[in-house]
Symmetry: C2
Subunit: 332 residues, 2 copies
């Protein structure tokens, strides 16, 4: 294992220290339990909170700041945060307007965020959860009952954060989040495995001419193991999987999110993005917004994912709204 | 070789197509020769132009837009663009106020940008070049006489672009660029090699327990091959190399740029950034601005670089000025 780390057990804590130093204008990191909290916590508006295992950076800590998340609760690498960590994130940010928890659909996350929400309710706070499950690859998986939450999470955090920032009620932010979850679909592919620091060996094996189609963000198995193929064929396979699922139809307006799993460089990612745009145009699907880059990753895994979100005027306005976080920033 | 590509010879052209589709609000791509040009070309102010071999994305095409570059001229992967490509970039953007070419110190780049500048001068355009050589690792190298241009290029492009945007004369933008070049130093390290698409095999070999200290952004040899070591020791070695070179001294105000070479994930990069901040504080060096992320890469190479720029009020103001490009965006 080759990594720029010290003690594998201290990776997340040491990384959060660097995050806090780099972005002190936006966030602070509370220790024990670890929580990333927006510097200017909300007053009088809904808090938007997410979290989950580390190793997917910039998700979630890189999305803390005005217009997106109020708190991010990082667990150990690929491991859910504890209920008391989630509770600490709620306590640090939630006032009378309540909070929305954005939970990716993994068994541990769902359980621990739910427990934290109940503890917060016992303290008199109005806390709701939404569970995102946008991965079309498989029905159940290593860490999941039902579909996994993947790339759509980034778009959901942006849009829910924008709704909270403009002063929407908790009912309204929750309804909007459920709308996004209903309209977003993703698929991923891996060329190489990630290596979890405390494991020290690659999470799975792939032959030199193999790829894993439908990979999860923790390296969970996907739909099938395929022979490596040219980008044109691979991206067509990915677009087909996503478009046919919702299904997306001719005339639909969409946001296309082309995401690197970490180790795939931008030169390849933009190449894939161009293919996806062309194929969607052939379907008559209208790409009106784009996001291209490594935003939800699996450590150093080489691979990518495609996410399609069906948008309308309201979602577009919320997507375009100002945001100022370490990883996403525009309009401010 | 595992990559998301079609024909290895077409990687750059296909990737630029995706870049143009993703960021049509900011830039367009001219074909044959390939040039990335800002949509709203400058009128009445200095143009700032850079370029070089591809494979270092987002450098340079990802920095085209208001407040940074007016044109980026991409060569093939790790290969200088031709003089006529550079000339096309100049022609597309340069008016009476002239242009500044930002050239990384590699023999091919220096020669081809110089030839293009002469051709432009023959057309009556006032075009100046500055050569950046911020890498302290080695004096001469595979593609270089003198020091190589690396991470400092990103900071230089931002600051020169901001000066041009506020209406500085070509004399002033050039002087400012030379000031930045005099005050910026970098060092890089590789954990794994990159694979150039048209080569198909890794650029060099590193044993499982080895790292290359002082790596170049094309995988050129550095100072020495070392046994892998904990992040604390490695980052200390990097900070020492940079600080002792200028040298940076107690009380200096700096911008610290912690860069991923592509394959190193953010969780490791922030960890390293935190260590660097702590060590600089021990030196009495005051980190006032930061940039953390993959901004000048070497394809999928795992590794990182540290860049230190000595700043004052003027450079800070120019760094903070609004920028709107695919890869760097704030204040607008």
């Amino acid at each position: 294992m080759k990594k720029i780390i010290n003690d594998p057990a201290a990776v997340v804590a040491e990384s959060l220290r660097g995050l806090a130093l780099a972005h002190a204008d936006l966030l602070r990191v509370e220790d024990d339990p670890a929580v990333v909290v927006r510097t200017d916590a909300p007053t009088g508006r809904v808090a938007v909170i997410s979290g989950g295992g580390s190793g997917h950076e910039p998700l979630h800590g890189g999305f803390v700041g005005p217009g997106m998340l109020d708190a991010a609760v990082p667990g150990p690498v690929f491991t859910s945060p504890t209920p008391d960590a989630v509770q600490a994130g709620i306590t640090a940010t939630t006032g009378d307007a309540g909070a929305l928890l954005i939970v990716k659909n993994y068994t541990g996350d769902v359980l621990n965020f739910e427990t934290a929400a109940e503890l917060a309710a016992a303290d008199g706070l109005d806390v709701r959860s939404v569970v995102i499950d946008d991965d079309v690859a498989v029905k159940d998986s290593t860490y999941t009952a039902g579909r996994r939450g993947v790339g759509g999470t980034v778009l959901l955090e942006k849009i829910a954060g924008a709704a909270a920032a403009r002063g929407d009620s908790l009912d309204a932010v929750e309804a909007l989040a459920r709308k996004v979850i209903g309209q977003v679909r993703s698929i991923g592919v891996a060329l190489t495995p990630p290596t979890v620091p405390h494991a020290g060996t690659p999470s799975f094996e792939l032959a030199d001419d193999e790829i894993e189609f439908g990979i999860g963000i923790h390296g969970e198995p996907g739909r099938e193991r395929l022979k490596a193929e040219p980008a044109d064929a691979l991206v067509a396979r990915m677009v087909e999987a996503v478009v046919s699922d919702l299904p997306f139809a001719e005339g639909d307006r969409v946001l296309l999110f082309t995401n690197s799993m970490g180790g795939t460089p931008l030169v390849e990612l933009y190449l894939a993005h161009g293919i996806a745009e062309r194929l969607l145009a052939e379907h008559g699907i209208v790409v009106e917004r784009r996001l291209v880059g490594p935003y939800i990753t699996s450590l150093e895994m080489q691979g990518m994912s495609l996410t399609l979100l069906k948008i309308d005027d309201e979602l577009t306005e919320l997507w375009d709204a100002p945001v100022r976080t370490p990883a996403l920033r525009w309009g401010s």
